[in-house]
Amino acid sequence: MTNIVAIVKMVPDLVEELEINDNGTGLARDWLRLIINEFDNHAIEQAILLKERDGGEVTVIAPEAEGVEDMLFTTAAKGADRMIKLTSDFAEDTNNHALARAFAETAKAFQPDLILTGVQANDDLDGPVGPLVAEYLGMPYVGYISGVMIEDGKAIVRKEYPGGLIGEMEVVLPAVLGIQAGEEPPRYVAISKVRQMMKTTEIDEQEIPELDPSGGARINRMYLPEAAGRAEMITGGEEEIAAKLVEIFKEVGAL
């Protein structure tokens, strides 16, 4: 039986065009499309896999954001037992230090054996959330994890290093793990099942009265990168492009 808390946040969908706000210090939020942080999605999968293997409960905590309720009901459809939405004045300048304090305070009440979260998120500017939560709770943290087993009150984890090297580590519980990849790809759930969850389950709301962002980087300016050494663009119809590519392939000796 493992009592697991998964910590999740919504991040900008990078497929969409990103814009800077009027102050020039953050992303313009008005039209920003948000999706679940892909590494958090892996953390949820790992949490559900552990529950299926060893029994236990999975609680998912996420801060309020556009689309967060659909995301939380989706985790319920996957097998999460409890969903919590944090509400607060999440202004544009909320950072991971503030979020981590809120997550830690909320997670504490569940006395988790294990807290799983994504190893990073695409909008992190003051480090990932996981190690901050760990330190605020006085728990050990190990990140870049792609495999977790629970044995005798300890977690045996696979930590990824560059070049494909794995460090097998033993971590005393309770602990926070930063998940790079779940042991299985995030599972798919049918929309009908998510809809059913919307009817049969509820999301708990917890208010965070005050956010404390201290310890985060203070951003003076945010901007879109200038295209530096931009590629020579090949244009035309598919036949023209294909012909040009064949020339390039010949040039490098591939043909």
């Binding site: 500017l125 494909g164 310890g215």
Partner: protein
């Protein structure tokens, strides 16, 4: 507080990581601004020799059996005690499996500000690259010791290397008992059927390939070109290709003659594994994809509309 800039040196199995040389290059730029020195901080057991290649004004060395292999717990305690004692102006880490596990925890433990994903330092400005390389953010040193995690892209590793061995000074290691994280063993990567780091033609696929079935098309093209298919992280996480085919941060570093990137956006984690390719040709539907900033040739096009005529022409060219 002194004005020195520290770099926590990452090393694994007797090798200093490139990100530490890159961080040293950045630290030297910053030290010029602050008027301090760029100092390497080396932790380990019987690894003093690793200091000899560092382009640092000096190296602080902690030797302890519990530091023989990296564990976040032991590194956090040792670096925390050093920062507490010396109060350097800034401390660099890699935004990596080693550095990121240490830097954030220290930010919370010591109440010190942290800036992550830094790519360069100019005139005291710290520039970070986020959102898969689509957004830049500028910050500056705080009034207290500032912690910074680095990603590759702004400096070459050679800029942080030197043949003049810096002076090495030992520093005291705090009590390292009650450690909560232990290394049990290293597991070497599976060899896989091919070693992509030795291939001269690579057809690389990313999220833009959309479904597993489409990998066949890339494989067909690779075979015609005498090359091999490799990929970015999401393809491996989906279980569509084995880990041995992954290029980037936790995967392989490749330098082929031709890197044909299909549906790869060019996030920094991927780019660090392939930026040194001799020629990069990128096909992507997103005109703002960062891959176009490092590619030799760019094609803003749907790969699926292109692949059939391309396969036909390549086949024809092969037939002569």
């Amino acid at each position: 507080m002194n004005q020195d800039i520290y770099v926590v040196i990452e090393h694994l199995q007797g090798q200093v990581a490139d990100i530490s040389f890159i961080s040293l290059a950045a630290a030297r730029d910053l030290a010029q601004e602050t008027g301090g020195q760029a100092v390497g901080v080396l932790l380990g057991h019987n690894v003093q020799d690793l200091a000899s290649t560092l382009a640092a004004d000096g190296v602080l060395y902690a030797d302890h059996p519990a530091l023989a292999e990296f564990t976040a717990d032991a590194y956090q305690k040792t670096v925390a005690s050093l920062i507490g004692k010396n109060e350097p102006r800034a401390v660099f880490f890699g935004n990596t499996s080693i550095g990121a596990d240490v830097a954030s925890v220290l930010s919370a433990r010591l109440s010190l500000p942290l800036v992550s994903s830094c790519v360069s330092i100019t005139g005291g400005k710290i520039t970070s690259k986020i959102c898969g390389g689509k957004i830049m953010a500028e910050s500056e040193l705080a009034k207290t010791t500032t912690l910074i995690t680095m990603i590759p892209g702004g400096y070459k590793a050679e800029q942080g290397q030197s043949e003049q061995s810096p002076d090495v000074t030992s520093f005291n290691v705090p009590t390292l008992d009650d450690l909560r994280v232990m290394l049990k063993q290293y597991i070497q990567p599976e060899a896989g059927d091919v070693d992509i780091s030795k291939e001269s033609i690579l057809v690389a696929i990313g999220r833009g390939i959309q479904t597993e079935d489409n990998i066949e098309l890339a494989e067909e093209l690779a075979e015609l070109l005498g090359g091999t298919v490799c990929s970015s992280r999401p393809i491996v996480d989906q279980g569509w290709l084995p880990t041995s085919r992954m290029v980037g941060k936790s995967g392989k570093t490749v330098k082929p003659k031709l890197y044909l990137a299909l549906g790869i956006s060019g996030a920094p984690e991927h780019v660090e594994g392939m930026a040194e390719s001799e020629m990069i040709v990128a096909v992507n539907m997103d005109p703002n994809a960062p891959i176009f900033d490092i590619a030799t040739y760019g094609i803003e096009f749907d790969f699926f509309d292109l692949i059939d005529p391309l396969l036909e022409l390549v086949e024809a060219a092969k037939r002569g």
